[in-house]
């Protein structure tokens, strides 16, 4: 095992595998209309979006009609299927963040229907608003000023009034360096993007979000390493980059995502944050996860294991297209509702919940490195290692090293199957990781002196 004896496991909110199960988090979140997340019941989280349509003045009535149709279909079916509660995520489309009045209008429309279903039919529910991080619309991005940032701040401020119960984001600071690093499998640059740039931006951004939420009495929920680790996962899924690389990026993304919770986010984490189990183990907040039910949005190699310790279970996103039965958002809701039924039935006994968790785990883990690093036991071990370090950079570096070691060990022990073209990358990456300096400023100096320097503005990171 990688974890040295006597690791300060006490820094983790969850230390025992027995307590690491779906539906239950050390710090549950109450929100919306009668909803509690992480208090023993897994809750479906549904996300939906428009089919191909331009977003403009003249299409606006049709856009409103579409959202009204989606929320109505979803709420009705949720009620018919007697879901314990319903979390709806409204992830804006970029024009709705640039023009916050638009985003707020749709948010209000959704919130009104949710309110009606609660009042009339007793459907417990909450609405999570996720404005886009539009700052990357220019490159190098301005992260702390300029019109994009202003638009985001405005939407944060209007969220409560527009009926949102939770605020989230998929932030992107550091991505301007990460993108090319991913396609070149440059682990060094990835660690820099996540541990140095990303973590700094998170601290800045989330202080603002937490402040906006406190001012208006709604919940600062969570963030995701989507722009980093999911991009890597998708690229690996298309066989563009090695899967072992994407798995290492996932673990390396943990310290960056963690920053949100350190500065006040309370959960649930974002569904597409597959690093969620680490966040739950370390910070104790409830997490939202997605897997096979999100196949409408991306195919996945972690379709079951992603469910193992979730508190909300999501479909990620589906367009409002018509299927043989009905509209796709209602179809997704149905699938989530039945999955949650199963989990909640098993969870009537803690022992059974652990059994189901373990089957979900075992069914994926040996086949895929990304699945392997989501094993609850691996999560607890690697999380403990990560938390031995103090700073985001050192944690990120440690995460990459620990993940590589764990993958090599599991592969060597025959627990994780890897084809040869994947296995040889373990060494390549290890060589890259071994040269990562212990000292953050050394890496920074090196990067400022490399071609990557043209891609980001140090001042935007307070550097």
């Amino acid at each position: 095992m990688t974890s040295p004896a006597g690791a300060p496991a006490a820094t983790l909110a969850i230390t025992s595998l027995d307590d690491f199960i779906f539906g239950r988090a050390p710090h549950p979140v109450r929100c919306g209309r009668g909803m509690e997340i992480g208090a023993g019941t897994v809750i479906p989280e549904i996300n939906f979006t428009l089919p191909p349509i331009a977003i403009a003045e003249d299409t606006w009535p049709e856009i409103r009609r579409q959202y009204a149709e989606m929320i109505e279909g979803v709420c009705r079916r949720a009620m018919e299927l007697e879901v314990p509660a319903l979390l709806v995520e409204f992830e804006t489309l970029p024009p709705m963040t640039e023009n916050p009045a638009w985003g707020a209008e749709i948010c209000k429309l959704l919130s009104n229907t949710l309110g009606t279903y609660h009042a009339k039919h007793g459907l417990r529910n909450a609405l999570r608003l996720t404005p886009n991080d539009t700052r990357e619309f220019q490159r190098p991005p301005l992260l702390r000023r300029g019109k994009y940032w202003e638009g985001m701040l405005e939407l944060f401020a209007r969220a409560a009034e527009a009926g949102a119960d939770l605020l989230a984001i998929e932030s992107t600071g550091g991505k301007e360096v990460s993108d090319e690093a991913l396609t070149s499998a440059d682990l060094r640059a990835v660690v820099f993007a996540l541990g140095v740039l990303g973590a700094r931006d998170m601290a800045f951004l989330w202080k603002q979000i937490v402040a906006a939420c406190r001012a208006s009495g709604i919940g600062p929920s969570g963030d995701t390493a989507c722009g980093f680790a999911n991009t890597a996962m998708v690229l690996a899924g298309q066989k563009f980059i090695p899967k072992v690389f994407a798995a290492v990026v996932r673990v390396a993304a943990v310290p960056r995502s963690l920053v949100a919770y350190e500065v006040g986010a309370v959960g649930p984490s974002k569904d597409c944050a597959y690093e969620g189990p680490y966040i739950k183990a370390i910070a104790g907040v409830p997490i939202s996860m997605e897997g096979r039910t999100a196949a409408c949005a991306h195919l996945s190699s972690v379709g079951n294991i992603s469910q193992a310790v979730c508190d909300c279970w999501s479909n990620e996103s589906v367009q409002n297209v018509r299927l043989l039965s009905t509209n796709a958002p209602t179809v997704s809701l149905e699938q989530l509702a039945y999955d949650c039924r199963l989990m909640n039935t098993a969870a009537r006994s803690a022992e059974d919940a652990r059994r189901l968790r373990d089957w979900l785990t075992e069914s994926d883990a040996p086949r895929d490195p990304h699945a392997w690093v989501l094993r609850p036991d691996v999560v607890l071990r690697l999380a403990a290692e990560i938390m031995e370090e103090e700073t985001p950079y050192r944690r990120t570096r440690r995460a990459a090293l620990a993940a590589l070691e764990e993958l090599a060990r599991a592969h060597g022990a025959g627990e994780l199957r890897l084809p040869p073209q994947e296995a040889r990358w373990l060494d390549t990456l290890r060589r890259q990781a071994d040269t990562l300096p212990e000292d953050e400023s050394a890496l920074l100096a090196e990067m400022l002196d490399s071609p990557a320097a043209s891609k980001f503005l140090p001042a935007e990171y307070g550097l």
């Binding site: 428009l50 089919p51 191909p52 349509i53 331009a54 977003i55 489309l93 970029p94 024009p95 990357e136 619309f137 490159r139 993108d179 090319e180 991913l182 396609t183 070149s184 499998a185 440059d186 991009t231 690229l235 066989k239 563009f240 980059i241 090695p242 367009q319 084809p419 073209q421 990358w425």
Partner: protein
């Protein structure tokens, strides 16, 4: 001449230093630059493409080879140009207005460069006007459009319509791609070609410029 086969190897290994050195040496020995390209360099990239298709290598390796190829090409191009020879083709590429996804577009650009095309990359969030202006200014053969959002796909049609209005539709081949784009959509808007991957984009571009 047989040591030129080392050029193929250098590109396969992604060893830019070696490939530049061998290229220099070959050119000093008055090797026909056109032959260097077609006999030793293009086959190397084709082989990498094949390895990628079969899962034997990944994009990072592809990119390194493409970079080695590009480095050698930079030595060769002036010579070919002096003879009046043109690059394989000239491509203006970019991601559609409102769309910031550029990973796929960048891959296509790199692979095209690796295959000997001259690539003018306009970046992301590019409006129809700029595509057309740049294509005309740079005398491009191809306009390559990338979209990852269904909301930005319609701008592809706009580019083609604008080209028609400007009476310039015949001067350029337009190719389109990106995850939500399909062959059917490409046909519908009257594009000249579509591919769902970067390797395919190279083959497509080659066919279109020689057609």
């Amino acid at each position: 001449m047989s040591d030129c086969s080392k050029l193929t190897e250098a590109i396969l290994n992604g060893d830019a230093k070696a490939s530049v050195a061998i290229t220099k040496e070959a050119l000093d020995k008055k090797t026909d630059p056109q032959e260097l390209v077609s006999k030793y360099m293009i086959p190397a990239m084709d082989e990498m493409g094949k390895r990628f298709e079969t899962g034997d290598c990944f994009v990072p390796e592809l990119l390194i080879s493409a970079r080695a190829m590009k480095a050698s090409l930079e030595l060769i191009r002036p010579l070919l140009a002096a003879r009046g020879a043109e690059p394989v083709g000239r491509v203006v590429i970019g991601t559609m207005k409102g769309d910031l996804h550029d990973i796929g577009k960048n891959l296509v650009a790199s692979m095209l460069e690796g295959a000997g095309f001259e690539v003018i990359d306009l970046g992301v969030d590019v409006g129809p006007g700029l595509f057309i202006a740049e294509a005309q200014a740079k005398k491009a053969d191809l306009i390559a459009l990338s979209a990852l959002l269904t909301t930005t796909m319609p701008h592809m049609r706009a580019v083609i319509e604008e080209l028609k209005k400007a009476g310039a539709r015949d001067r350029f081949k337009v190719i389109v791609g990106g995850a939500p784009v399909t062959q059917r959509y490409a046909d519908e808007i009257g594009a000249d070609g579509y591919s769902d991957n970067a390797n395919g984009a190279v083959g497509l571009a080659r066919r279109l410029v020689t057609a």
